[in-house]
Subunit: 235 residues, 4 copies
């Protein structure tokens, strides 16, 4: 019997992360879901028949252990998504050095640690292949007032995706970056869909479908970047 | 019995245009294929069960007649693709005014005429919806030396796509622009795949699949722009 | 006695165009000012000791005649600015083909005709040199809703500037493009400065100074693009 | 007697940094030059009549002390430039976490620390004004293969400049970012100008002039970004 392909999603919360785990699982993949607090992933792992891992993505040691465990327990991943982010909205005058650094570490350093670990595993295979996806934001393309804590990390993550794509694509690894331009349903606790009208925010399942289609692209026509926004979003 | 959805592809040659017609047809759509010389589309129309139309996309009258005929014979289109282009590689010093204008008319004016006609039909329906796609190129983002005849039109087409998206998306019309960054297999007569290695150029079927996935996106997560290139392409 | 350098400004109205003529004249250049209606330039030419020319920049014949006259009467230009534009704000559904084409012809085709004529004269000299500047706008970078008539031409003009720079810079011709991101004082008749606060719109003299500094750049550090906006402008 | 304006340049090596110090000094400013090793700045400070400061720009404490000393000894700065950078060219597979972090800290975190300190001093004055400039690179706009260590920091610095501009410009502080697209003469020890032809690399004095012109812009027409490259550079 053929082994199922393995996917890893790092940064799994109640919105997009969970939707990615479900979409990849529905496609028949064995899915490793990782978040800082493993206990929050228990029911999702059970629901999808996958595995939950605790991992602080800003820690080199924890990321290395995550990928070693995934390889040992599930196999070499075909598809890895980096989906973590952090943000404190503040004036530049009031931003502490710790906040500035921490937001960058979650948005960008974690992407480097996860991307590097994924690429090392994928390239160790005889016929190297696989997909590495990064979640961007409006702030990946525009540094807005009071948004430096998000934009610095997201610009950096986009730079990382470009550099990795240019280095790794000819070796068989597809690297892509999705600019999520709007609010994702379910990612803010107090948010209620009905207040803004039908489909007025990004549905996690719709984004997850786009990510899965990126993974399915044949290597003769790979996308490095696409944007996704709701039909009613101003941009 | 439910009516099949209608697609229109303007600018159908042996490469991407034909692949789009086949992909949409395979999805069960009735496909109108349009090109300057209708007789070249006969076998494709027969193969796909669609219709062939002769149309000079740079002529307002011919574009208006095309969409009137499509509406009368097939119905209001759900999906319209503008895929025509023209290019003369030359020094700015040697480019004639006629060449400069003609390339723009094919790459950009035709996109306006087709996009406007498509939008008018789609918005005339009770619950307006539909997808309008434009084919871009490397030259949509970068004006290279000796490439002004292509870049001026392709930059303009991208501007048109952005303006149309910002005007029409909240009315239910999805507008998107695909940056095709590389050579498409079959679009240059003398080209042979084997000379450059496997999948070293863009396969039309792979691009067509990406266009079809754009059409399938739910309105909560629409893409305005994506790029597509072969895995071995330098960029 | 050394001959004065020659500058040509095409598209001279009461705002930026006139300020450019004055700034270049103040620097000791002989300045040719061109606009559709030559009679409107009479007092400016007298004030600056330059010459006024009537020229429809969208007409190949008129642009050729303009540059032939400038060469014969003043000499080969060192500095040429293309500053014309046209715009009709409209829905895509209501834009006529004539409006769409006309706006492009003023914003972009005229830039090609002027840029080509300038480059031909400059490159005919023994030690080729000179500066060609294009006036862009917010719409050079973003196609807004109802702004396709401006954005299509301005995107195209930016493509032209990039292609010309990449072809001509190594031959000694400096090509640059300025993105004017905001309203220019004096370019709308009814506008009054005091209503928006001090320096709240772009002062033509300040833009003209930036253009002149571009012309003064030594070839070891040439700018292709810069943006200019008032301090209080949202962007 | 009127006090001279104060400028601060952080990241002063033998190339651009020294040229900035000389240009601002020539304009009559009192210039504080800062680098990790103060002793290397002694002759430059003596030549220009300015002051030399030792400062590790990645250390919050050292940056705070630098600006406190500048304010006490010279006065509140009018013009502050962040010019430091670090880079290790490597495969993503071989990049250590320490290298990745260190390059970001020099290119981007230092820019935050310096920009924040500069903005705080400038905004503490009664009529706030001043200019803050950041030195970008080709890698500010493009993440090339093996260039992630540079691009992640430089993309981040550009995001920072945009966010700061959007927050601070309406308060009277001009923020700008210069994309230096090419090699700067004198910044690599073994480089000899004559090998590449006249003016084939960026002359530091030419870049410094462009920075000074940015500082001189009146607030009715401020530039956020410009690029600078030698005439013969491919781009």
């Amino acid at each position: 019997m053929a082994e199922a392909d393995v996917a890893v999603v790092v940064g799994v919360g109640p919105g997009l992360g969970a939707a990615l785990v479900r979409r990849f699982s529905k496609a028949g993949m064995k899915v490793a879901a990782a978040a800082r607090r493993r206990e929050r992933l228990a029911s999702l792992a059970e629901e999808t028949g996958g595995r939950a891992y605790g991992c602080d993505a800003t820690s080199e040691g924890e990321v290395e252990r995550l990928f070693a465990a995934v390889k040992a327990e599930l196999g070499t991943p075909e598809l890895v998504v980096y989906n973590a982010s952090a943000f404190v909205r503040k004036s530049i005058l009031e931003t502490s050095t710790e906040e500035f650094e921490r937001c960058w570490r979650v948005a960008c350093l974690g992407g480097f640690l996860v991307g590097r670990a994924a690429a090392r595993l994928m390239l160790a295979e005889a016929a190297a292949h696989g997909t590495i996806l990064f979640t961007g934001a409006t702030a990946s393309l525009r540094g807005g007032a009071l948004f430096h804590n998000l934009a610095v990390g997201k610009f950096g993550l986009r730079a990382l995706a470009q550099s990795m794509a240019r280095e790794l694509q000819a070796k068989g690894i597809h690297v892509a970056h999705a600019v999520i331009d709007g609010q994702i349903a379910g990612e803010r606790p107090g948010y209620r869909r009905e207040e803004r009208g039908q489909d007025a925010v990004l549905e996690p399942d719709a984004i997850a479908e786009a990510y899965y289609q990126l993974h399915r692209q044949p290597r003769s026509a790979w996308t490095l970047e696409l944007d996704l926004r709701p039909w009613v979003e101003k941009f």
